[in-house]
Symmetry: D2
Subunit: 357 residues, 4 copies
């Protein structure tokens, strides 16, 4: 019998929680073992507590699992978390203190100095920051975060360009899917035949997270990318898939072919055998009217970003469009890939005898 790592899910009934369950069905390394949600759900069978919104069937085993209270006592060591920032701020440290590896999609600790904000293809090295976390030293527990769903695509697309040519200025205008707001999230009266040019705190998150993700670990701290960044975030009537229009100013000149080559050759995880890592994390699409969310969001099982429309920019140097699946690559899949990376570097194992006995 294979032995998969048991996973607990904090925020299991939410949109991203549902995606964890969907993506972990048949996962080779991980297995859902514990589900926690709000007090209202606790004690109920998951199938009753959650309003399943995905287009694959809720696995029967999961439907029957009882939702646990959100307390570390009964939880397995590895926790995938996706809860509101205010709740995460209180709860995630409690689990980390109890010895859990909290691998989180929540925004609460992304910008905390000793918390890694990681995309494995981009800055896996930042994961070592967990060793500086007080919880790690005491109980073996820690917190690792993945990014906001909107910044994911741009960061994947920018990483190979930053590495080869340097990037000094970045403009990003998003057209975001409604699933990014959870459920019930965006009211249909607000989005049918409409665009909402505002998403609370989203621009701030995009700007600061992007610079941290593309930053360099110096000693125990991340030095953010030294670039100017401006994000404008909009909601559009799309179910899944965030489209972002990006313009950049480079440090060193690059031709169109060189940028496309940088994307094509960007395979930083090749050979590492992480089950959720797409072969080609950034996929160049030469057709002039792509990427499009409905057609491209599921590439690489929802884990690849698609880039297209690379052309000169009249203000900066180059502009392009990038698309990624916001609840897979931009949320649940990001957590899972972080966990796979942590597993591969041996950080999912308990470190002290005391931990989480």
């Amino acid at each position: 019998m294979t032995r998969k790592t048991p996973i607990g899910i904090l925020g299991a009934t939410g949109m991203v929680g549902q995606r964890y369950i969907q993506l972990l069905e048949d996962h080779p390394l991980f297995e859902v073992a514990w589900l926690a949600a709000s007090d209202r759900s606790s004690g109920k069978p998951y199938g009753e507590a959650a309003k399943w919104r995905l287009d694959t069937a809720l696995p029967e085993r999961i439907a029957k699992m009882t939702v646990s209270p959100a307390e570390p006592e009964s939880a397995p060591r590895v926790i995938f978390a996706s809860v509101d920032a205010a709740i995460a701020r209180e709860m995630e440290p409690k689990f980390a203190a109890a010895g859990c590896a909290v691998i989180s999609n929540s925004s609460a600790f992304r910008m905390a100095p000793n918390v890694p904000l990681v995309i494995p293809e981009v800055n896996a090295g930042h994961l070592h920051m967990i060793e500086e976390q007080p919880w790690r030293k005491e109980s073996g527990g820690y917190i690792v975060t993945n990014s906001n769903c909107t910044v994911m695509g741009p960061v994947l697309a920018l990483k190979p360009i930053v590495d080869r040519f340097g990037v000094e200025q970045i403009f990003a205008t998003s057209m975001q899917a409604v699933s990014g707001a959870g459920y019930p999230g965006v009211a249909s009266m607000d989005i049918l035949d409409n665009v909402v040019p505002y998403i609370s705190n989203e621009e701030e998150k995009m700007e600061e997270e992007l610079l941290k993700l593309l930053g360099r670990l110096e000693g125990h701290a991340v030095k953010p990318l030294d670039a100017r960044m401006s994000a404008s975030c909009n909601r559009v009537p799309v179910v899944d898939g965030h489209t972002v229009s990006v313009s950049i100013k480079l440090t060193r000149p690059a031709t169109r072919d060189q940028i496309i080559a940088a994307w094509g050759e960007f395979r930083p995880l090749a050979g590492q055998d992480l089950p959720s890592a797409p072969d080609q994390p950034v996929q160049w699409e030469p057709q002039p009217d792509r990427p499009q969310p409905r057609l491209d969001r599921n590439r690489g099982k929802g884990m690849a970003a698609t880039v297209g429309r690379l052309r000169p920019c009249g203000v900066l140097d180059w502009k392009f469009t990038v698309l990624s699946h916001n609840t897979i690559r931009g949320a649940a899949g990001a957590t899972i890939l972080n966990a796979e990376m942590l597993a591969s570097i041996g950080k999912l194992e308990p470190v002290t005898a005391a931990a989480h006995a």
Copy 2:
């Protein structure tokens, strides 16, 4: 009995042609007198030739009018034109040569050196360029154009800022309604649950038209605004109303209040009594999540642009969102307002006895 100026419509069955008809119903100065469309429609009653797509009833008088061949012989002197660029390129000069005032929404001649590209609130003075047109000299006829539908909102919003503070760099990312593509236009398979990050030639038009519109007449030629401009155009699932995210670098610093004041005080047509001119062409909306197409596109009877979300930009100086109705302010209403302005400066009257006998 009042005597209204008879108007001919070239491209009468199209989306913008329908808006001309809708907006001229009960117009105090103009009256639809002649309708022309493709050969296929010619000779039929308009009500049969056109698939009426607007939510007000097709006026019965118009429904019964016979569609004329697109030849100047039978046409009145004043022509509103909205046809494909290739057709306009051939047809509009023919009408101008025959002595017609061709007031056009087509793109064919917008960038021609002696053709005015005009938004009355922005550059009404450019209208005098018609006197340099060869047709004008020979037959009294001329061509005047209005802008692309997408550039309209940004230009209205930028004009008072250019005048007070100077603008050196402009970034514009559009989220455009499907009505901008005419009928049948965008296939539903392409836009339901989707964004299309490409509209053929749209970015080029936006960039060059914006600079011409904000340019200065020097002698008989327009000197474009001396600014760098970058446009990214996207189609979204919205019926009417183009939303544009704009960032700008100013020549002279301005505070947020100063920019808002510039918009509020921008009433260049006040007192000129043009029936289609909105009292307040640029309307500042302080709510953080506005403007939105469904809620704001009909302001000023579809002739006002709404601005919101003014905030500092991390790359340039300021950013904001502007929205305007693409088939009213951005197309049919723009032609009509140009005609009203031409009427007010006496340019709708025949100039020579020879003209259009």
Copy 3:
């Protein structure tokens, strides 16, 4: 100075409450004088308490009005009410007992034996039932209701057919707009690229209200129409306008032309001078692909129902499609038209010296 009847609105911040305000702006008989909503809103200026979702501007006078507690003490005599059934059940009798004419869009009392459920074109005579209400006798107050938004179109379309030919069986399948569910109402995740074939209690309401509306007043009670009725209700991604596919079995045979004539000649309120009554309440549209919500919902200022596609039915006799604006004709406009009818028969005046001094 004209003296308009002051109107109080219960549920003023909701979707229908907003429509009351919109439709009463410039109303010749009525004037908004009092706004009440939930405790949370009470004491705030309306402009702050309500998230205005309509595409016309919130009138400034209304924006500044303070939201009152939902108590009859401070209320004017005439109340337009649109609140949840549970709240209505408690609150509307309180206002009626205090002497108010409660003209309600709420569902709570529509089927109560002595409460008129009225569409003026259909069963204005039922209004006399108010005289049997205990509140009426004690304080002069009473409750009058209008129908569910979905049943409105079918009842208007059926009334002239019932009168001329008799109707014995009715099939109605609805495709309903999201505005019918209020705000926030339907989650965008539930309706983008989707149909929801269920609306809680809607089929029951449609079936029983239709029969009461088309019923006959016998003595002091309504004898429902003696017909079999089956409703199937669906939500579709449309902002405003309920489309209903209807099939009927007649008592006496009718030709297609006879049915169309029955609709065309149906003008029961002609000459009564009710400001919100459309000249032609049921408008036949001969084009084969109509009515459509986006194109037809605003006919008669949103107060007319449009019928089309009359054709033989393979199971019953005839089938057709009917469309009406759900928040105007189907809700706010219905209340206002009921009030206009009550005014015209002298029922908006206080009856006793004691009433509501």
Copy 4:
């Protein structure tokens, strides 16, 4: 090496043509070997000729295949066809006469007396009608058709009820996805924020095909089901998945549980090992607000119909909602399943030495 049957596709660039290609990628029995489309496409690589609209990648092998002229000379023996009725009427007999097994999604011959209209779970026995076709006798070729996309779900849902209880009257009101109209198909201006209550010829097709599909083979002819049927067809803003509201009158009474059991036990192809046949062709969904197109269309890889909302009908006996994927189960998958069934009964092999040498 495995030997798969080579398949030719007539109408390869269309919406259903694309689905054939998508569904045949990795098919165990069939392999795309020949692609034909209009003259305009002929001679081009498929990747250039087709505007690929599906959300999986166009297989590279297919992208490089040259589109052939639509002539039987170069075609393989087995042809999947999905072309306009007018073209099919001319072309399909030509291929059949040349010895091809034409397995068609086109509507041209569905109602022809000696052409089987087949859903394998419903009326596989009708396939034997091909032996009466003149082409069959001469060249071995024949035509087999699958049904209209909208009737598919209702027929699957009705079959077990017809068998157990008899059905005498059927009401069906559809809410159809835009993909059913092909590409470009429905204009976005016609369907955003809208319902179109008309699809040309669709009601006629639904009514007659349903009765033929549920009919009995008597001798060499199909005796249609003896029932009254009424269809009302509507287009809604959904990408894929037709939702149909159905009411029925039974011959023999049935309880709700009996009907649900009839669906659950309906597995007519169990044990036949047809690769595209879903284990459970009709899936009962007990949640009150299901089926929904976005959530249920992909069940059984798009080959299962989902039923829900079974409840008494006020006019007939029972009503329910059925949903199926219109371009998979309702079109491309239907053709493929018919081909699998034909293969299993030995009808894909050439019958005469002369045939198609």
